[in-house]
Symmetry: C2
């Protein structure tokens, strides 16, 4: 299987980087063809702009409708967007590896969602969720978060469990485009866990990754 | 009162722009001192980078800990971040005016959260929620979303109401930093609503804005 890892951290010694390296190692070791979109390394531009399109409709500028227009013109997007679209189209599994910032992903990855998961490419009118244009592919979030574990409860300080916090991404973004979505791996309290705790989290992730394709644990599966 | 509008759209004829202009008009008309951070107009950089800091700790690069380090050094951030921090510090009310993209805000605004709401400036260890460093200020989301209204139900296609979708921002970002958070104004189905529908939505927003400070409708209020 072709596996794409979309990675959003700029520090090679970070825990997030260690999770990314582990995913490369485990899935590569299983014989899969693993490629990495290193968003910081590529200098990926986060911000949706008019120049993301080779040509525009010329009317009132609505980014979504320009995406649709460009899709009809055989992917008339800027080269960085086209490169990412090609990688998704070829992938059977896409892993997103990033820290959690503000109950979400860093802007550089949010911008990847905004710019790459284009109308006409990843979804369209009437082509969402079980009919999404990326149907048949799998996706999974692999995230590192701060803060004590007991904050992540409906009656905790954050007033939500991780699944609720990640609903905009797992459901509103990935499932929306048709992906079958694995239960996320979320390492909580990474800074506070200490070396022993972090080693254990990487072991837990290794176990998840080893069994990911043979024994999937679905959050969303489009029958 | 000083009112800061953080605005994230690049089309002056957009509905989002109309909402921003209305906020300037209504709150300015009430005698408040209104300023606008036009993120697209300013070319605001969305991506958290090492060069956001005048000097770094020199160790393993953790963005959050570098923010804290820079805060201690009398705001040793890049000038664009300092300018936004000064605006927030002077503001009694901050309005965020943007479209909803992927159940969240566009990356350029997510990047504003990532870069401006810095550890040591907006929050700190033990200084979150009711003890957040931006305590005493008010905030409100003013958003334009697509898709039919009946999608935004727990048993609808999006499997969540707008309040759940916006929890990462209203609670996990704004309330986290200490803001008292107004119920958001979310215009749904903006593309499908037609001109009559859109005019009505602007009237509804005008009413909310006229009464915002005299009759606040709190989503989160730190007593």
């Amino acid at each position: 299987m072709n596996v794409l890892i979309v990675y959003a951290h700029n520090e090679p010694t970070s825990f997030t980087s260690a999770m990314k390296n582990l995913a490369v190692q485990v899935l590569g070791g299983q014989g899969h063809n693993v490629s990495v979109s290193d968003l910081y390394g590529q200098g990926f531009s986060a911000t949706a702009q008019k120049w993301d399109f080779i040509t525009t409709t010329g009317g009132h500028f609505n980014y979504m409708l320009e995406q649709k227009h460009a899709a009809k013109l055989d992917l008339a997007y800027s080269p960085d967007i086209i490169a990412e679209i090609q990688k998704i189209k070829e992938a059977g599994l896409v892993l997103f590896v990033a820290p959690v910032w503000w109950f979400s992903v860093p802007a550089i990855l949010k911008g990847w969602f905004d710019r790459v998961l284009a109308m006409g490419v990843a979804w369209d009118s009437g082509r969402i969720y079980e009919n999404g244009l990326l149907r048949g592919r799998q996706a999974m979030l692999i995230l590192a978060a701060g803060g004590p574990q007991d904050y992540y409860q409906e009656n905790g300080r954050h007033e939500a469990v991780p699944q609720q916090i990640l609903h905009p991404i797992n459901h509103g973004t990935l499932a929306f485009c048709g992906f079958d979505v694995h239960e996320p791996f979320v390492a909580l309290n990474v800074l506070g866990a200490g070396d022993v705790g972090r080693v254990q989290m990487l072991k837990d992730l290794e176990y998840r990754l080893q069994n990911l394709l043979s024994s999937p644990n679905w959050l969303v599966h489009h029958d």
